[in-house]
């Protein structure tokens, strides 16, 4: 008699097909960025030079072009690597390439994980991405940058992945929720790094657009898990 192994009989939201999950994640991120581009631009016109929405969408359009013409055999990290190289090589400004660094670290951790738990790999990659972004940008929590969303997302993702390693969906949902909490906090902060720092208190009340981008990234991940589950079950 065959014994069902792992998922399927539990309430876990582990993605059964990790390769399909990462591709769906990047496509959903592209959809979300395109849908919110006008709002991101409006935010960045208040606290930056107004190009963040366009740069994020440009990076994701370049990502989708790569996904449509994939290079190499299907693998969980392939779509993440495509997004990383699109953001690092083709996007101007500074926030876009910083997203590339984050995606590259997540891709590296996912590629290294092989048969390990996806939640653990995603947590490790996100933590390494946060560290790389902080080394480069020298921003700390409270400086009103994307770090204000990424740091709590990383820490909640890590805690949840340690508690329930077999449930990537739950870990990503925690990360998304923590990232949006960070976005709301940036609205109350005065910038000390990035272009918004030139404005002082004039940027008060406006959330940081880079932080919004991070929250969109983790929301897209959550919806990609949910969507796969509905198709596969």
């Amino acid at each position: 008699m065959l014994t069902p192994t792992g998922t399927g009989i539990t309430e876990s939201s582990e993605p059964e097909d990790f390769t399909a999950f990462t591709e769906g994640w990047m496509r959903r991120f592209a959809d979300a960025a395109t849908a919110t581009e006008a709002e991101l631009t409006a935010l960045d016109q208040q606290v930056g030079d107004g190009d963040f929405g366009a740069n994020l969408v440009a990076g994701l359009q370049a990502t989708v072009r790569r996904l449509d013409l994939p290079v190499g055999p299907p693998a969980p990290a392939r779509s993440l690597e495509a997004a990383a190289s699109a953001f690092l090589d083709e996007v101007g400004g500074t926030s876009g390439p910083l997203f590339g660094l984050l995606l590259q670290e997540i891709a590296t951790a996912v590629a290294a994980a092989r048969d390990g738990a996806p939640a653990t790999a995603l947590a490790a990659g996100t933590g390494n991405g946060l560290a790389a972004i902080q080394r480069v940008g020298e921003a700390a929590v409270g400086d009103k940058t994307l770090v204000d969303a990424l740091a709590p997302a990383s820490s909640r993702l890590d805690a949840q992945a340690r508690a329930v390693p077999g449930d990537a969906g739950a870990a990503l949902a925690c990360a998304a929720s923590a990232a949006w909490g960070g976005v709301r906090r940036t609205a109350r902060l005065t910038a000390r790094r990035g272009r918004a720092s030139y404005l002082g208190d004039r940027a008060a009340g406006v959330p940081d657009p880079g932080a919004v981008g991070i929250a969109l990234l983790f929301s897209a991940a959550t919806s990609s898990v949910t969507s796969l589950r509905s198709h596969l079950n």
Binding site: L88, T94, P97, L98, V136, G137
Partner: protein, 335 residues
Amino acid sequence: MGLYFANVADELVGDALAGFARAHAGDVRWDERDGYVRALKPAPTRRVGLVSGGGSGHEPLHLGYVGTGMLDAACPGRVFASPHNRQIFAASRAVAGEDGVLHVVKNYTGDKINFGIAAERLAREGIPCGRVLVDDDVATESAEIATGRRGTGATVLVEKILGAAADTGMGLSDLVALGTDVVGRCRSLAVASAAHTSPATGQAAFDLPAGAIEYGVGIHGERARRTLQERSLRDLAEDMVAALADSLRLDARAQVVLLVNGLGGITRLELYAVLNEVTRLLDKRGASTVRTLVGDFVTALDMRGFSLTLMAADDATLAYYDAPADTPAWCGRAG
């Protein structure tokens, strides 16, 4: 004030790079696809590649210092805009030696981030990468300025000295230590009697009344904290030398390398007169001016102004300074 001579404003940098490569065809190559200028005849003894870069509009920096004895590669951005990390990554991979690559970075947020992203990518490929951050501009020396002093004229001296040291086969960590020490020995200050012409508008980037002097201007036209009225060259030089000497804590009997740098729109006649005043003031302080450089080294498009850089030298840095170099714009000589 007049318009720039360019076919298309956006293409001025690219056209200039093509012309630069044509003028120095045997010595450098412009890689248009990857966006960097590379030296064709580096010393075979080099174990570390030297890479710098930054916004265009400061010529001859950095292009003019690519060549034997100085930089292995330079990455130009658009006018006053940082180069893309992709250019820095490609240049660094191309010129990395057995002990990696050293980035010489002027202290501006955009440059730091783009060189930093390239450094992360190099680390991922196992290429050792170090950084020397140049921050010499005393106009931005203040406890209130969290980003610290800007990087300006000292960059040329740092690139020269590190180039000579790299030619001896010095390793990456020693080059980082040497470069950091040299940066600490250098201070600069710039003044202008007229702004540069904005390439976007064809107008002065900022307005100065006749006779006014912007004291502590930046090389991108950043306004100074003070605008002086009707100051003689003698009085101006005295203020500037005092500010530099104080920041360096220059003691009597110090050996000083003096760079009198034109910002792009000033005559050589004036620069030599500046040099005359400054050396006189240094003599009066008991310092000995052991080397002088005069000319346009780090410009701000066509800004009508000059900067002074003082380096408190020791015998080791002077030996590297005096070592031969052959690049399109280096004109330093021993003596």
